[in-house]
């Protein structure tokens, strides 16, 4: 079981979360050309090692999280909200 420390809810089983995907994807602007979108949507670095990825605390606060995790050992090194303002709200 991977334990993920949700910044809002605390440490929870990964089964409460849903895995999003690669957090390093930069989505092009909506009016960007098709080639940029093809690259962003269909191609992945597929890192073997520590990667930034998104998870959503779908059965909790529903926050989208940016998680740094090893895809080899599953060890998590950092968790933070994807939305930077949310971190501020929690800190206050």
């Amino acid at each position: 079981m991977i334990l993920i420390k949700c910044p809002y809810c605390g440490e929870r089983d990964h089964s409460e979360f849903s895995y999003g995907g690669d957090a390093s994807i930069v989505y092009p602007s909506l009016d960007a050309p098709q080639e940029e979108w093809v690259k962003a949507i269909f191609f992945r670095e597929n890192i073997k090692g520590i990667q930034k990825e998104t998870w959503q605390h779908i059965n909790g606060c529903r926050m989208w999280l940016e998680v740094e995790r090893s895809t080899i050992t599953h060890e998590i090194t950092s968790v933070k909200p994807c939305h930077k303002n949310l971190q501020k709200v929690i800190d206050n």
Partner: protein, 988 residues
């Protein structure tokens, strides 16, 4: 008689006798017995048959490594196959029988295999059974499948009942600071030390008594030890196996709550599956004594040395009278002494020539430099041939009459749980065993699981283990050290196989699977030299015990053949579970109807009360149809659909996804999410919208209402509700954090009824406090408004129609949903209305050519379903860059059309493939996605797709091919808008 119960030994409760049944005969044992000890006490030697050769098998150990004594407990739907007799507690009325034998384990016809064994070497089945013998003539799989039937019947061990398991299993969760696995001297020491430091400690012990190997000591009192631990606050879980160690120090445990008794207390589960999240795990899981491979080393009466000591001092059973003990290490001597004390005649064969001290204290005969060579006897041991070792070859020197042979080829630490974490063990050649490697995670190995043999050292390692945990958890910084591995006075000498002179020997490495030393040699000869290949080719270590005793022997043989050291041959990875885990325990209470949650709408019971037959839609149940007396589903939905077109109908459509969207940037957000224009949607108006995925294909459709300048209300399809919600959240939190918008799922907060048909207004007149509020002027098509149902129940009414008739959707707070249905239905009844379900809803929408998930199957574009004109050209939105890429905009794509049968009496089904008339094969030119009988048109109609669409095929006759249902029919291609294409009825 050779094995027997004796007085003054053991810790069983002789006051309490249990009657049990073995192979249809009754026997007695005592409280505290295991099934194995009770069988031995009754001198029952043959308890099973081996997998391949059906050789007689007796009890060979006293623990979870058992590979001989696998039996079936219980009968009928309580039948429990492949139970280890050694870890099954005896209880009053226990019924057990042997398995993999016909007619019985005592006389098994399958043992003919033993005489044919020369042909049944490892992997022989890969080399034949392909074709007609002897040269495998023929083609295809028929010959194999013929042989396979017989092979399958012969394979397998126990038999599973085909009746549903009547027992209850539970799931439970727990947390602790430190979880200690194993209650041997090391584990107890660890638990005490950690509890002393005020930590929350769970101690897990698979046995029903704590103590581990100490249970074979006469002076050890398990109950005292338990009381002491509990007084320190340690949470002791007996009869609980830590079967797997997972990420973040999470353990899977199985607690056998009721396996030790005849079920009386109905509330208790049979087993409990625990998930425990520990901060640190200390593993004192002990070590397994290995046997020695020599000819006929499997005859009932052969056993590991230490097991015999347990049977004597724990269960009061002397397992033999004339006992030969064969060893290569010091650990066997304690047992020899105990057995002599109990009255057995004991000879010890010690492979080692010169020992530092006399370990026998002159109590029994020791023959040094001597090894076991061959057991004489088939069903029981008659005598043992022994050999001396000259220049590493073995020569028979003598025969000893005996009824038992005990073996100790050394000890293997139980590194299994650590192996689950991917930590490879290291070879310790001094102690001839694999010892645990270093774990980076919070895991500490202690006691003999660490390769430490002496009891005092084990205790010291337990204390060190607790201190190690404290240090690594940052609680204290006490200095500690672990005693070094080993601890015998005289060092062990490798002894894995005593090679037999004859070419075909039966020196078993893996008892249950009948893997012999010759099999290992054959594997080597054929190039299966990697450990994993060896395992897979010979099936060594793949039986119920997963190679707990035999794996190292196999490894050493391969090392020998390769001229390598054992560590250079490798080690196989131990996979969870440590011991087999029942599937019932994994499932827990999620069985039967509770396999998945059931979602119901607030009108669920109301629907049932009013005669609904329900259908599953994802996790929801929705009304399917409302049959009147004797109506079939077809009768019912056709009547319902016709009634809607003629008068009025009411349908529960609550399961739609509902999302509240609020914030100053809501309009911008909506506009980016939908493919059609939304920026100019007026307040109090709603609009049908289509959402695309990032890749430009259709994600979902629904309506979106503008409630205020900054507030919207979105509906989604039932199926995509969850996905759309998560996607919107992702967009706002991940991609567009600058947008000031909040989305909230309100699916559960509202109940929704659709009411439609020409009499809708008349019905609503009687339902609303003020019906003028829904007049054509006040509430035009696609408008919505707040209103009050009679009784001043607030609701929202949207003028939306899925049926193509004048229609409204009424949204009400979930608590009032039943009341709403009462009000609507009481009124509708007066206008000859009906309740209708999903099937009629489908019929009405198919007639209109409205698409649902059957058409929007994740592969269609907005153009494919004929709604391309809706998509905005003036804005960018999710999917806009991608929706026309490559062939997605090709002319000859499959486009939405309607289908009529040419013969109006024909019916057809969804999934029918559309082909050109003279070319009924291949992928076809289209397909049918939805069908219904149209009461309006009086025949069946369908929606679907055809390459090039209606422009190309209008009124052409094609063929619908449905070979799976043996149907074929002529079909006419028509416009998908099969009824009222102008939409006049909408405006009623």
């Amino acid at each position: 008689m050779s094995s027997q119960r004796i007085d003054n030994f053991g810790k069983i409760n002789r006051e309490k006798q249990f009657r049990f049944n073995w192979e249809n005969k009754n026997y007695f044992g005592y409280e505290g017995d295991s099934l194995a000890s009770a069988l031995l006490a009754n001198d029952i030697r043959i308890v099973g048959r081996s997998f391949k050769y059906h050789r007689p098998r007796g009890i060979m150990s006293c623990g979870v490594e058992e590979s001989g004594g696998l039996v079936t407990i219980g009968t009928g739907n309580k039948k429990d196959p492949n139970v280890r007799a050694t870890s099954q507690e005896l209880y009053e009325g226990l019924i057990a029988s042997g398995q993999n034998a016909f007619p019985s384990v005592n006389f098994d016809l399958g043992s003919v295999n033993n005489y044919l064994s020369r042909f049944f070497a490892a992997g022989f089945y890969y080399k034949t059974f392909m074709g007609i013998p002897p040269f495998e003539w023929g083609k295809g799989t028929a010959v194999w499948m013929f042989f396979e039937k017989f092979i399958r019947k012969a394979a397998g061990m126990g038999r599973v009942s085909r009746l549903p398991d009547p027992d209850i299993y539970e799931h439970a969760n727990d947390f602790c600071d430190i979880l200690v696995v194993g209650s041997g001297s090391a584990g107890i020491a660890s638990a005490k030390e950690a509890a002393d430091k005020k930590l929350d400690v769970i101690l897990v012990e698979q046995d029903n008594f704590i103590g581990g190997d100490q249970l074979s000591e006469t002076s050890f009192d398990s109950n005292n030890a338990l009381a002491e631990l509990r007084s320190l606050g340690v949470r002791v879980m007996k009869r609980t196996t830590a079967f797997g160690l997972y990420d973040n120090c999470v353990l899977g445990l199985i607690e056998r709550v009721k396996d030790q008794s005849n079920p009386i207390n109905k509330e208790l589960p049979k087993q409990r599956f625990w998930i425990v999240r520990a901060k640190h795990v200390i593993i004192g899981s002990g070590a397994f004594e290995r046997h020695i491979a020599f000819n006929n080393n499997d005859v009932p009466g052969s056993m590991t040395v230490n097991a015999s000591k347990h049977y004597l001092n724990r269960y009061g059973v002397l397992t033999g009278k004339n006992i030969v003990i064969s060893t290569n290490n010091d650990s066997a001597y304690g047992t020899a002494e105990a057995l002599v004390k109990a009255g057995a005649k004991v000879i010890v064969l010690d492979k080692r020539e010169n020992l530092n001290s006399d370990l026998s204290n002159n109590n029994f005969e020791v023959r040094n430099g001597v090894v076991p060579y061959n057991i004489n006897g088939a069903r029981e041991i008659k005598s043992l041939d022994i050999a001396d070792t000259v220049n590493s070859t073995y020569k028979k020197i003598d025969t000893i009459t005996c009824d038992q042979v005990l073996m100790s080829g050394g000890w293997s630490p139980a590194v299994h749980l650590l192996s689950h974490r991917g930590v490879k063990p290291k070879w310790d050649s001094e102690n001839q065993c694999f010892i645990p490697g270093e774990a980076k995670e919070n895991i500490t190995m202690i006691g003999s699981a660490r390769g430490i043999w002496g009891k005092d050292d084990c205790i010291a390692s337990g204390i060190s283990g607790a201190l190690d945990a404290l240090n690594r958890l940052g609680i204290s910084k006490t200095k500690y050290f672990f005693p070094k591995q080993g601890g015998w006075e005289n060092s062990i000498e490798p002894l894995y196989e005593v090679k037999y002179k004859k070419s075909r020997s039966k020196s078993f490495v893996d008892f249950q699977h009948d893997v012999t030393c010759d099999d290992v040699r054959l594997a080597h000869r054929e190039g299966f030299i990697s450990v994993e290949h060896l395992k897979r080719y010979t099936t060594l270590g793949m039986a119920n015990d997963q190679g707990k005793m035999g794996n190292i022997i196999g490894l050493s043989l391969m090392a020998d053949l390769l001229g390598k050291e054992i560590p250079n041959v490798g080690t196989t990875t131990f996979r969870p579970p440590f011991t087999p885990v029942s599937i019932g325990a994994l499932a827990g209470r999620s069985v039967g109807k509770h396999f998945m949650p059931l979602r119901t709408t607030p009108m669920h019971q109301w629907n049932l009360n009013n005669g609904a037959t329900m259908i599953d839609a994802g996790l929801y149940q929705r009304p399917w149809y409302f049959p009147k007396k004797n109506e079939t589903i077809n009768d019912a939905y056709i009547r319902e659909a016709a009634t809607v077109r003629k008068t009025v109908g009411i349908c529960d459509v609550t399961s739609l996804g509902k999302i509240a969207i609020q914030g100053p940037d809501s309009t911008e957000f909506i506009n980016r999410v939908y493919s059609n224009a939304f920026a100019k949607l007026p307040i109090n108006k709603t609009r049908y919208g289509i959402m695309l995925r990032d890749d430009g294909l259709v994600l979902d459709d629904g309506t979106c209402w503008r409630i205020s300048e900054t507030e919207y209300f979105m509906t989604t399809s039932t199926a995509q509700a969850g996905r759309v919600m998560a996607f919107l959240e992702e967009l706002l939190q991940v991609r567009w954090p600058d947008l000031k918008v909040n989305v909230t799922s309100v699916s559960e907060q509202w109940g929704v009824a659709a009411i439609s048909g020409p009499k809708t207004r008349e019905v609503l007149d009687q339902c609303l406090e003020d019906s003028s509020i829904i007049s054509n002027d006040n509430l035009p098509f696609m408008g919505f408004i707040s209103a009050n149902l009679k009784g001043r129940i607030p609701c929202k009414i949207a003028r939306i129609s899925f049926s193509g008739e004048l229609g409204f959707e009424i949204y009400i707070l979930a608590d009032y949903a039943n009341k709403m249905m009462d009000i609507l239905w009481n009124s509708a009844k007066k206008f000859d209305g009906c309740l209708y379900g999903l099937e009629a809803l489908g019929a009405l929408r198919v007639e209109k050519g409205h698409v649902t998930g059957a058409e929007l199957d994740g592969r269609t574009t907005i153009d494919d379903v004929g709604l391309g004109n809706m998509a905005s050209n003036k804005k960018s939105y999710i999917g806009s860059a991608m929706r026309k890429r490559g062939v997605l905009s090709a002319e000859d794509r499959e486009k939405l059309v309607g289908f009529f049968p040419v013969n109006k009496k024909d019916t057809f089904d969804s999934g029918t493939i559309i082909c050109e008339k003279n070319n009924i094969k291949g992928f076809g030119i289209g397909r049918v996605t939805s069908v219904t009988h149209s009461p309006e048109l009086g025949h069946w109609i369908g929606l679907g797709f055809i390459k090039g669409g209606v422009e190309k095929w209008k009124d052409t006759i094609v063929v619908g091919s449905d070979p799976i249902r043996n149907k074929e029919m002529e079909i006419q291609v028509v416009s998908p808008h099969m009824i009222d294409p102008g939409g006049k009825r909408l405006h009623g």
